[in-house]
Amino acid sequence: MKVAVKVKYLLKAVNICSRLVSNRSSLEVLGNILIETDKNILKLSSTNLDLAITTKLGAKVEKEGKIAIPARLLGELVNSISEDTLQLIADDTNLTIKGSGIVSRLNGVAASEFPTLPKLANTKSIKFDSASLKNNLEKVLASVSIDESRPVLAGIYFSINNNQLVLAGTDSYRLSEVKSAYQTSESINCIIPVRTVSELLRLISSEDVEGIEIIIGESEISFIVGDSQLISQLTEGKYPDYKKIIPETTTTTIECDKDKLIEAVKVSSVFARESSHGIALKVVKDELTIDAQTSDVGENTIKITVKKTGKDASININAKYITDILSVIDGKTITIGINDKLDPLALSPKIKDANEVHIIMPLRS
């Protein structure tokens, strides 16, 4: 292999690929980045065997070839070089990097040792606006479980049916669902692992493109974002039937200013130090009172004016769950729906045809 490449492109590609590389893997080659030529472009790939990422960059290819190079080494080197253009020359297991005043030789691994990235079969392809998809994914990500022991919950439910995209996430104590219109004849139901989604969101940030393409196969999914492609396994299994938990009507509905509520909950959180971060919400007429106390810390009461319809109500809830959701929810004014003390509480933006709803299960005491 012999190619010439701009350092700034190489740097970006190496940084994107390095994110997946783990040095703790039992298979040494997974600590490497695969560098290969593909006609007149250069491709860098890495994988952790759950996810794989490939990114392309423009280069002047004089001689084709490929090699795997330890990611840490390559990253440290490229990040500290202040050259403009570099020449990469490789035989089977050595890579020589030449700049105007620098020559480095890196020991690598034969490319044949590097895992071949999976080819997707029986695929469906759909395109999205990256900004709105990112926004929607972040909303449901707030509720997704980080516990890998139940893979189905450590994933985002992704479904397209009847021209509607539905995203949902839950850790079984809270749930977020976002719907949006999406014109397509395809019907898709799958669960995307949360790690894949986080990686996708980072990729969207670093690639800065308007549109992304999603390719869904039988048990795998791929995202094409600008010059990069992310490939992941889909989570097998059936997503819990969560619809029944979303209350259709509520006996108490509170409208309140989001910023005021965020501030009130934040202040209360200081006093909600038990493991359940419990705070007590109580609404009487148009006044919402939030009480919080921890025996060895102290206690706090804060009141905000709201607009209430329906019955007076009170409910105990985990403050952290509320702040998580308030940080992603749309709108200046939000609606809180409450039924009984032990029934789920619903949060949604006060917008006409709001397309998102967040559910939090109350605390029993």
């Binding site: 893997s25 071949t116 980080i146 516990d147 048990s219 396994q233 819990p240 105990n316």
Partner: protein
């Protein structure tokens, strides 16, 4: 995977393990299974798409070769990431124990309700280490249990507790679960009776589901009444594998039973030896001082002052079972509340008079029959005879009932004492009196009176 496929795949893996490096073998072939072997086609299950691609590219020929050594008819090998029988690789997600669920979540606390368990389960807070009374008979078991809850999986694994009923085995199991949960809310704890284990296993077999996940994915497994696994060969085998998996990963296992492993009949040798690996601790019935302490503690939890002489009286007369001991105290307390009497020795003697005598005085069937006959003013010959008039039949059945309930005699034994009646006649009689006395207060009074007379013996 059935046994044949397992054997075939085992030999294929054996071959590949020699050819490949340890790291390669571990990374790519761990978790693979032979899913299907039919006609000239073999289907191999691989855990993910990356593995599929790699095995296809790199090891396909080696795998094909190795399979053909076992089954020469195989021409094609396919790879799938989907488990067979439409069963996803991940277990269907609804069966998870809410307790385990609650314990496994980071921000959860016992108070946090979950979407799935919406309004049930609470861990059993009644049993803690604090309210376990330590005596000479249970000291060892108690300290072992405490150590286990401090360092699950490190100290005694497995911990095997045994002792007669009502000495606190279940109490210790729950105390361990509660303590571990309090220390490490993320720790996945599963408390189960061996009966539940057996049932879950049988249900899984019947539905053709994967059984292993629920029990093998926990950090702490506690199983009560292990002796019931005796004779259940398939369940024992399943438990053996569960045990091995957990033990291998240093997950704590706590078992209890009413007898030591070596005395559980038809327990497989390999299980027996495993049960004895860790710590086997016995719990003896409490001694007198411990019994008094238990009663005092129990009274305390009801916010009651208990006189020493009352406690000593109860402790003297009920001597081997804590459940009965506490039951007796509850009875005295209930009686005092009901009648507004203070809890003192005479009251305890009155309330427990019956109770204690039953357990102490040996009353034989003949005495029961004689006294019952006397009470109803009929002759002994009539009651054991064949007359079927109402005034004879009812006393006779009451006598049957008392013999059954109070002396716990077998039906045939009662039949014999009544002059060789059929045992089904006795069953009928006992059942009849049981239902009737529940409704008929006169009859229940009669029975009580006869019992009192018998106690007076």
């Amino acid at each position: 995977m059935d046994a044949k496929l397992q054997t075939v795949w085992g030999s294929v893996l054996g071959e590949l393990e020699i050819v490949l490096s340890q790291a390669n073998f571990q990374t790519w072939l761990k978790g693979t299974e032979l899913a299907e072997l039919e006609g000239d086609k073999a289907v191999i299950y691989v855990p993910n798409i990356f593995t599929r691609q790699w095995i296809q590219d790199k090891y396909h020929l080696q795998i094909l070769d190795a399979i053909r050594k076992v089954d020469a008819g195989i021409k094609t090998v396919e790879y799938t990431t989907k488990k067979q029988s439409g069963q996803p690789a991940v277990e269907a997600d609804n069966s998870i124990n809410p307790a385990l669920e609650a314990a496994s979540k980071k921000y959860s606390s016992p108070a946090q309700s979950s979407i799935e368990s919406y309004g049930d389960f609470k861990p059993n807070q009644k049993y803690k280490f604090d309210n376990f009374i330590i005596g000479s008979g249970n000291k060892l078991a108690f300290s072992a249990a405490q150590l286990v809850s401090e360092k699950p999986g490190e100290m005694y694994n497995p911990l095997f507790l045994y002792g007669p009923p009502g000495v606190g085995k279940t109490h210790l199991l729950w105390a361990i679960s509660n303590e571990i949960h309090a220390r490490q809310p993320n720790c996945k704890i599963l408390y189960s009776t061996s009966e539940e284990f057996i049932n879950t296993f049988l249900t899984a077999i019947r539905k053709g589901e994967k059984f292993t996940d629920k029990y093998r994915k926990v950090d702490v497994l506690l199983i009560d009444d292990m002796q019931f696994i005796a004779g259940k060969i398939k369940t024992q085998e399943e438990f053996f594998h569960t045990f091995n998996t957990l033990h291998q990963y240093n997950k704590q296992i706590v078992l209890c039973s009413d007898r030591p492993p070596k005395d559980i009949p038809t327990l497989e040798e390999r299980l027996r030896s495993r049960f004895e690996w860790g710590m086997v601790a016995d719990i003896q019935p409490p001694d007198f001082e411990t019994r008094v302490a238990i009663l005092m503690n129990k009274a305390n939890s009801h916010s009651l002052e208990l006189d020493m002489d009352v406690a000593e009286f109860v402790a003297t007369h009920i001597d081997n079972n804590i459940r009965e001991l506490e039951g007796a105290l509850t009875k005295v307390i209930a009686h005092s509340r009901l009648h507004g009497q203070p809890i003192d020795l005479p009251l305890a003697q009155e309330v427990l008079g019956m109770y204690i005598s039953q357990t102490q005085v040996k009353v034989n069937p003949k005495i029961v029959l004689q006294k019952t006959a006397d009470y109803f003013e009929i002759s002994y010959n009539d009651i054991v005879g064949v007359k079927r008039s109402r005034e004879i039949v009812v006393p006779r059945q009451i006598a049957m009932f008392i013999m059954r309930e109070e002396l716990s005699l077998s039906f045939p034994r009662i039949a014999k004492s009544l002059g060789g009646k059929d045992h089904t006649t006795i069953m009928h009689g006992v059942n009849k009196i049981r239902t009737q006395s529940a409704r008929d207060s006169v009859m229940s009074q009669d029975i009580q009176s006869i019992k009192k007379i018998l106690v007076g013996q």
